[in-house]
Structure formats: structure tokens, C-alpha cells
Symmetry: C2
Subunit: 159 residues, 2 copies
DNA sequence: TTTATATAGTTCATATAATTTACTTTATTA
DNA sequence: TAATAAAGTAAATTATATGAACTATATAAA
């Protein structure tokens, strides 16, 4: 009896691990596609869109900060910022307290773009919420939170 | 009273839409990082790893099939296959029924690599499952399934 | 049966994403 | 003051991906 249960439990665990893998992979693909569509809709590379969104709640950012937030090398950040500057979305100025540092901030055009992207993203996630059965919505959010902490725990374990 | 409820409902919806956006974005980032680590661990580009995994359950695949499954242009598939061939992971042969078609299949080295990757992925998702409270596991899977169908519904709506 | 069209695969030009190394300028610290 | 660390930039390289043009073959229509 105990043996049967143990075997059964193992099967369930295996099934669940595989299911998890499949679902996470599908969600990831869906997101990738969505980000790619967003970039097309706004006629801007994804990296530049992501960079613009960093300014929510920040007047100024430095190159190092942007690299850190985007999780890319600082040389990559330089290029992204350069391209956003060419498009008139951000501007660079000297930090009065440290001559090594350049302060980057949104231009009015950049601010408008950020608002546009925010609205686009929000309406997309409202549509998504619409598609979830009202009785399930809190459940889905709770589950995602559980998944997030588990993923972070695994990451911490591996590191 | 009705007005108060309506306003309240709207606030909840707004909160939930934002929460969803945040959680999905975090999951996506976590996956990105994981795939990037996997590629480093196996010393192979992600695209090649993904391509190898397509052969689970298929003896032969054609270039067009690979392009379709990876959701990339066929020219991209050509390059991925070429690189896997250089590494001795796959081999190409002529389709006897259609001279336009090349049949691609795993070499023994490719089969070994696929098994390695499978094991790696499975153990990772087992670790993930381990981190989820046993009482929540079915709930998390159900929630992810609900999220997946909702995402697909939104995608269908937009197209 | 010839002609038109469609399909499979390759090649090349181009764009985006990202890292690594090396370098300049400026700050900090020993 | 000399050594070191940090911020930013530049160039070389790799990976990801598309689209257009092209070759060879297959299928459908005239």
C-alpha cells in the first residue's frame, strides 16, 4: 500500500514537473511574441522601448544605472542611449557633481512616447484580465506570485 | 451605493491588470535568464538547443518543419541546421520522394546531447515544483492553464 | 504537354541584441 | 602623490532574425 502510494506520488510529481515546463515555456513564447509586436507597433527596437520605460519614477538616470536595470553591459547601454538620443527621446547632460557621469533624461517627445507605451501595455493587460473568468482572477494572481517566489528560490539555490 | 461599488470594481480591475503585467514581466525575465544560463551550461547558442529539442518524437524533420516549429524564417533555419551539422549533432540527407527536400536527423552525438538537455530541464522543473507548497501545486498549474488560454484568446482577438 | 505557379532550400544584405576588451577621463584612497 | 576604481565610449565579435533574390524541383491549369 505504502509502495503503491509512493510510486503514484512520484508519477504525479513527474507529471506536474513536465506540465510546469510546458506551460512556462508557452507563456514565455507568448511574451516574446507580444514584445516583438509592441516593438513593431511603436517602430522601435525592444531594447529602446524597455529603456524608455525605466524612466517611470525617475527624472534622471545614469548610463550605469540603465545598464544595471536592463541587465546589460554598460557598452550596450551606451549604444541604446545614443540611438534614443538620435530619435530625440532622451537627452544627455553632465553631472555637476561628478565629471565622469552623464545624466540622461526624457525629452518631452520621450515623455509622450512613454505615456503611449504605458497606455498600450495597460489596455493589453486589461484585455487579458477580461479573458480570465472573474472568479479565477485572484487565484491566477496568487498562483503567479507563488511561481515567482519559487523561481527566485531556485535561482538563489543554483547561485 | 451602486456608484461606490462600480468605482471600487474599477480600482480592483486596474490593480489586477497592473499586477498581472508586473508578474508576467518578471516570469518572462526569469525564463530569459534561465535559457541564457542553459546555453552557457551546454556551450551552445539557444537557437541550436531549441532546434535539437524539436527531434523529441521525430526521427526526421525538414528545414521547413524546423522553421515552422521554431517560428523563424526558413533562411534562419538553414543557418541553425548548418551550425548543428558542423558540430556533428545532426546530418542531412536527400528525401527519396521529393528532390527539393532535405531530411534532417540527429546523429548519435545529437541524441546524447538531447538526453542531457532533457535531464537538465526536467531536474530544474522538479526543483521548481519542490519550491511550491504541495497544497498549491495543482492550483498553480490550473492558473497557468487559465492564463495561457486567456493569452491565446487576446492574441486571436488582436489578429 | 507545355506553361504557370508554388514549394524547399540556400545565399546575401541588413538590422537588432549583446558581450568583451581596450581606452580616456575623472574620482577616490592608500 | 601614486595607485586604483569608476563612468563612459569605441571597436571587434557573436548571436538572433528577416526579407529578397535565386536555383531546383513539383504540381496545377491551359
Amino acid at each position: 500500500m505504502n509502495d503503491v502510494n509512493t510510486t503514484n506520488d512520484l508519477r504525479v510529481l513527474e507529471y506536474q514537473a513536465n506540465k510546469l515546463q510546458e506551460l512556462i515555456s508557452e507563456l514565455h513564447n507568448c511574451c516574446k511574441e507580444r514584445y516583438s509586436n509592441e516593438a513593431k507597433a511603436f517602430k522601435m527596437p525592444q531594447a529602446e522601448l524597455r529603456c524608455l520605460m525605466l524612466f517611470e519614477g525617475h527624472k534622471y538616470l545614469t548610463g550605469i544605472q540603465i545598464a544595471g536595470l536592463l541587465e546589460v553591459a554598460k557598452s550596450r547601454a551606451t549604444v541604446i542611449i545614443e540611438n534614443l538620443e538620435k530619435k530625440g527621446m532622451v537627452q544627455r547632460s553632465q553631472d555637476p557633481n561628478d565629471a565622469r557621469v552623464k545624466l540622461i533624461n526624457l525629452t518631452p517627445a520621450g515623455q509622450r512616447k512613454v505615456r503611449e507605451i504605458e497606455e498600450f501595455m495597460f489596455s493589453l493587460h486589461q484585455q487579458l484580465l477580461d479573458q480570465i473568468d472573474p472568479g479565477q482572477r485572484t487565484g491566477v494572481i496568487t498562483a503567479l506570485e507563488a511561481l515567482r517566489s519559487s523561481m527566485e528560490a531556485v535561482k538563489a539555490q543554483l547561485a
